[in-house]
Structure formats: structure tokens, C-alpha cells
Amino acid sequence: MMDTLRKNWFSNIRSDLLAGTVVALALIPEAIAFSIIAGVDPKVGLYSSFCIAVIIAFTGGRPGMISAATGAMALLMVTLVKEHGLQYLLAATLLTGIIQIAAGYLKLAGLMRFVSRSVVTGFVNALAILIFMAQLPELTGVTWHVYAMTAAGLAIIYLFPLVPVVGRLVPSPLVCIVGLTIVAMVIGLDIRTVGDMGELPDTLPIFLWPDVPLTLETLLIILPYSLGLAVVGLLESLMTATIVDDLTDTTSDRDRECKGQGIANIGAGLFGGMAGCAMIGQSVINVKSGGRTRLSTLTAGVFLMILVLVLDQWLVQIPMAALVAVMIMVSIGTFSWDSVRNLRKYPLSTNIVMLVTVAVVVATHNLAYGVLAGVLLAALFFANKIGHYMLVTSEFDGRTGTRRYTVVGQVFFSSAEKFLDSFDFREAVDNVVIDLHQAHFWDITAVGALDKAVIRFRREGADVEVLGLNEASATIVDRFGEHGKPEGVGQIMGQ
């Protein structure tokens, strides 16, 4: 017990504390920016980030991953807030948590195996684009000062780390925010600041039961939103977990992560926060800064609240342009640069899956639809490819007047037509033998096609003999039973 406690919390104390503080700086802009997009006060996003980060530090299944209020989730709440108000959002957040906990117990995280790599890449890129697009309202219809400030902010973020020694010790987003705030205050620029965006937290979050009528009607209002939030939250969290797994060469407990996300969202909903999930950009920042254990996540949450509460007088002075610069950085860092370079190297079908995922997300602002489209498309491409692994050869024995067809490979909905086309029904023969010993019939479509072939040969007056049908159709059963065992797989593969 002590050993796990040490490993999960105190094996990397110094780096974790530092990384947590660095990450907190990248959490604040996202919480504020996306509260505004969701249509609520920045307070809601900041409380949410605090609650989620602190709770997930204890309940999550992936130490070192950062979760808080996120853009992907905020984009799904817009209409709910617009039509029904904040209290319904809080109720929806609670329900989201309950659904996610249920998903954890039902072990739905295992479904992630159907999400192919190109879909993940598409998801990540779409997320980056969404984060970037969310910054555009701050950049349209404004004076040139805002552009100058944003550009200066980005310059600081990317150039400051190049300064020897100091560059690696002082987080550049901090330099950007502090620097731009000072400049704006000294010159007295009249540009939008955080203070213009709505109410900021003035106390620690307070326990608050959402003020909604507990009726079926309420449930029907929030359920569709909660379902979407739960799905998107889990998708992004599990994908982020995989990224952190890869970076740190460790494994995570996915079902625990699902439940943890659920508990964290319930906590957020009860303390006046909106639903959130894991964040790819901030998690990468955490790993890059040396954060590895649960302590880093906890530090990020606690430090965020301290910053917001202690510096509230200064927080309102931060120009939005500074936060926009930080969010553009998060967006750029989230984007998978490799995916662009690999476009030329990868097969067309893979690229289409990736691009369709991106396109659907950007069009609908809902990552769940993008993933659904991507997964379906990937499955279709796969079915199409496997359908090619089917070959029918034939030989004619003139002595007995027998035409022998040998079927090799996979027969199912995608290859059934090709299977039928491989028979020459116009050939006048006395006997037809169809040898299926090396074929696999995966579904009813395949069986139907075989029946059809047999009937057509009979109509032409041939005697038909089908060999090895039992072996070939053993693959139809949904639960593989004996065939699921290693020797069974070998048998099915025709060895």
C-alpha cells in the first residue's frame, strides 16, 4: 500500500510540483475562453477545472494526465445554456458523470479498440482546429492592437524558451501573460480583458445542488446533452491516456479512468462547474515539464485555484489577446504534425478516414459524430480490403465431366457478389464440385450466395456437391466458443 502510494504520488515530487504549476497556467486560458463560448461566466469554467483536476488526481486511471474544463465539452453545451440556463448545465454535468461511471462499470473503454489510428489522428486534429476556431471571435472586429498583442504573445511563447538558462526555468506562457498585461496596463490600451468577460471566482467553490425541477421533463432536456458530453469526454480522455501511455512508456487503467472522469464531473456539477475531460495539449505540457504522477494533476488544480483567488485583482486586467495567444499555442501543440507529413506516405483509404473525421467534427462541432463517421468509414474500408482475400479457382476433369471449383479465403457481405461471379453457370457440365475446405463463410450473405450458386447449377442440369461446408461455416457463429482458443484460430485459418 505504501509502495503504491509512493509510486503514484511521491516518486517525483519536485518535478511534479513544478510541472503542475506550469500546467495551471495553460488551464486558466482554456477554462476562461471556453466558459465564454459555452455562454457562462468564467467562474463556471474555473471552478470546473479546479474540481475536475483535484478529483481526477485521486480517482483517475492515468497518473500524470491533466483533466479540466475543455473546449471539446464546452462546444456541446452552447444550445443547452442558451435555451435553459446554467442550472440545467449543472444538472447535465451530474448526469454526464453518472453515465460515465456506468460506462466504467460496463467496461466500455474496451470499445476503443474499434477506433483506428487514423480516427484518433483525425480526432486530435479536429480538436486542434476547434480550439483555434474558438479563438476567432476574439480576433474579429477588433482594433489592430489586439492583433499586435496576440502576435507579440505568440512570439514570446515560442522565442522566450530559446533564451539560455532562464528559458528552461520560467514558463513562457507565464511570461506572455504577465508581459502583455503589464504592457496593456502601462499604455492604457482599450482592449478586452478577462474582467469584461463576466464574473470571476471570489471564494472557493461552494456545494450547490442544481436548481432544477426533478421531473421527467428535465431529464429529457438534459439527457441528449449528457449522452454527448459523456461520449466525447470519454473519447478524449481515453485518447489522451493513450498519448500519455506512449510518452511515458507506462500503462493506464482505462475502466478506472472512465469511472474517475464520472466522479470528477459529478464533483464539478455539485460545485458549480461545467463538465470537462482530459486535455491533450495540457497533458503533453505536463509530461514535457516532467510531471508523471498524480501529484502533478493535483498541483495543477490547486495552483489554478490559488492563482485565481490570490490574484483576482490582477486577473481581470489580463488582456484577452494574451489568453488567445496561449490557446493558439495549445491548438498548435495539439495538432498532429506527423499526420500532415504522412499524408503522402499513407494509403488513400487511411487518409480519407482521417480527413472525414476532421471534416465532420469541424462541420458539426461535435467530436462524437466525427469519431462515429471515422469508425464507420474505417470499418467499410476494412471490409472492402478483406473482401479481396477471396479466390475461386477451377479445373475440369474431362473423363468424368466434372468441373471442380476451389474457394479460398473470406466470403462475406463484401465478397459475396464476387464469389457468385466466379462461377460459370453457362458451361454445360454433368457434375459440379464446390470445395470450401479453405474458405471461411462469415455471415448469412455468404451462405445465401452459396445457396444461389447451387440452385443455378442445378437448373442447368448439373449435379452439385459441396465439400467442407461445415468447416467453412464454423466462423458464422457470433461467439466463437472453441474457435476462440489458439488451436481453434489455427484451425480456422486453414492450417
Binding site: N12, S15, A26, R168, D249, T250, K288, V330, G333
Partner: protein, 289 residues
């Protein structure tokens, strides 16, 4: 031997001062039971970056670059750790083949933490041999190897914990409390070739009652099959000091005991006999699981 497959003795070698003694004890056990000996080095590498980069910015390709950097860092560390392990194993191998007549010696390395590495090997293992004080433990006394408790809890095979010096065990004592676990321990000993011909003391701590005497006699009967000399003793007092005292009085080399009789919570609050024994041990002890 009862089992069809050949069970081996696994000696866990690390860079600590106990490593030579671990070799010697393992060789002794291996000779006594005619089991093959495996020298094991577990590479439990640190995965934390040494130099913090707190720049906190991410740009195009940051993720891919970070993965490359971390992988490269790990690769270098793993190489070093592997080489270090090779040296340790070679030393151990040389020592065992010089000093003992063990014929079958194999060397193995695993990437894992110690507890998981041993769990993975336990199916083919008769006995694990570990140093009482590990590589990371400071030199001060009363310091148990940092991972020992986790190892003892997760491994389901007997574990021989040894001090820094080797003395060939000529006698052994079993700390016996009359519990079901203790009887299982007695049965395990009765079945093991390790104890054939070794004088055994069966020691129970507590007031002298007829019930205790009966349990002791029962246990003794089970051990008769070993054909060794068996002494039965009942001591008064607190468990840990009483056991130590008896061991010193009788000059016994090896203590055998069960592990962790109580629940996690209770142990967290009160500490356990096993942990206290580990901390105060100066002689080798075998933990039965």
C-alpha cells in the same frame, strides 16, 4: 520431488552489499535441494526526466519530438542498467561456480519492478533469495530493503531473506502460532527437501497451556517424516523479542515464519510482527507464503 517440472532457486542479484551473500545462500539452497539455480537481475529503471524543461510551450510536432526524446533517454538509461546488470550477473556466476558445486546455473534479466518480476517467475520457482537490505536502502541498521514488503505480499513462494554475511545454516527454527497458516507452513517444510537432516526447532510464543502443547505435538508429528532432530519449545513474552532471544540462546542460524497474518488496515495502524521481524533481523529468515 512431488512436482513433475523442475523447480528452481531464484537469486535476486542487485548492486547492494548483500549480493555475495545472496549468491552463497542461493547456492546452498540449490545444492541442498538439487535444484537448478537462476541468477536474476531486475532492471527497474527510473523513468523520470533528469533535467526539467519548464518552458511550458508546445508547438508543431511537439508531441512527436517529445516521444523521441523520452524514448532516447530511456534507451540510454536502459542500456546502462542492462550493462550494469550483466556485470553483476557475471560476478555472481563466477562466485557461485567457484565456491559451490551447483551445476545448473542460468542468468536472467527482466524489465519490471521487483515484485512483478518475481510474480511472473513464481510458477517455476521453489525459493526466492533476496538481500534483507536493498540497493537503495541506506547503510544504517533497521532499514529494510525498500521493496521488500510489496514483494513479500505479492509473491506466493517461500522467500529467503539474507543478511550481508553468509554462514552455512546448520539449524533452523520455525515460528509457530498454531494457526491454519502455520500448519500449512509446517506441511510445506515437511514436503521440502531443503530441511532433510537439518535440526529443527518448533517455537511457539505464549503462556504454557495444554492446548498449545497439543498443537506443537501435532506439528512435530507432521515433521517427523523429514528424519531430522526436532526440538519443541514454548516461550513466554512478546513475540518478536522472545523469538530473537530463543534464536540467540540456541545459536540457530535460520528462522522460518509465515507472513502478514492480519489485514492491511490493522497493519497500517499497528504495524505487523512480520515487519518488525524484518527490521530487527540479523540472521537469515525464510518467509513462507
Amino acid at each position: 520431488m512431488l512436482q513433475a517440472e523442475v523447480l528452481q532457486i531464484v537469486a535476486c542479484i542487485d548492486g547492494s552489499r548483500a549480493a555475495p551473500a545472496v549468491c552463497d545462500y542461493a547456492a546452498w539452497a540449490s545444492e541442498h535441494t538439487a535444484s537448478p539455480l537462476m541468477l536474476l537481475h531486475v532492471v527497474d529503471k527510473e523513468r523520470y526526466p533528469a533535467e526539467p524543461d519548464l518552458a511550458g510551450n508546445i508547438g508543431l510536432g511537439s508531441r512527436e519530438q517529445l516521444l523521441d526524446e523520452l524514448a532516447e533517454l530511456d534507451r540510454k538509461r536502459a542500456r546502462l542498467a542492462l550493462e550494469h546488470g550483466h556485470h553483476l550477473l557475471d560476478h555472481a556466476h563466477a562466485r557461485v561456480s567457484q565456491k559451490s558445486g551447483v551445476s545448473e546455473i542460468s542468468k536472467r534479466q527482466r524489465h519490471d519492478n521487483l515484485a512483478e518480476a518475481l510474480t511472473a517467475l513464481e510458477a517455476g520457482t521453489r525459493l526466492f533469495v533476496l538481500g534483507l537490505r536493498g540497493e537503495n536502502s541506506s547503510n544504517r541498521e533497521m532499514q529494510v530493503g525498500s521493496q521488500l514488503e510489496t514483494v513479500i505480499r505479492s509473491v506466493h513462494r517461500p522467500i529467503l531473506l539474507v543478511p550481508d554475511q553468509f554462514t552455512p545454516p546448520r539449524s533452523a527454527m520455525l515460528a509457530f502460532d498454531g494457526s491454519e497458516t502455520a500448519f500449512r507452513g509446517v506441511e510445506m517444510m515437511a514436503a521440502s527437501p531443503l530441511w532433510r537432516g537439518v535440526p529443527l526447532h518448533l517455537v511457539m510464543v505464549g503462556p504454557d497451556t495444554a492446548d498449545r502443547r497439543r498443537l506443537l505435538e501435532l506439528a512435530r508429528a507432521k515433521l517427523e517424516s523429514l528424519g531430522s532432530e526436532i526440538v519443541v519449545a514454548l516461550c513466554a513474552g512478546d513475540v518478536v523479542p522472545a523469538l530473537h532471544e530463543y534464536q540467540q540462546e540456541q545459536g540457530i542460524d535460520l528462522l522460518v515464519m509465515g507472513a502478514y497474518g492480519h489485514s492491511k488496515v490493522r497493519r497500517f495502524l499497528l504495524g505487523s510482527t512480520t515487519t518488525t521481524m524484518l527490521k530487527t533481523a540479523t540472521q537469515p529468515l525464510i518467509i513462507l507464503r
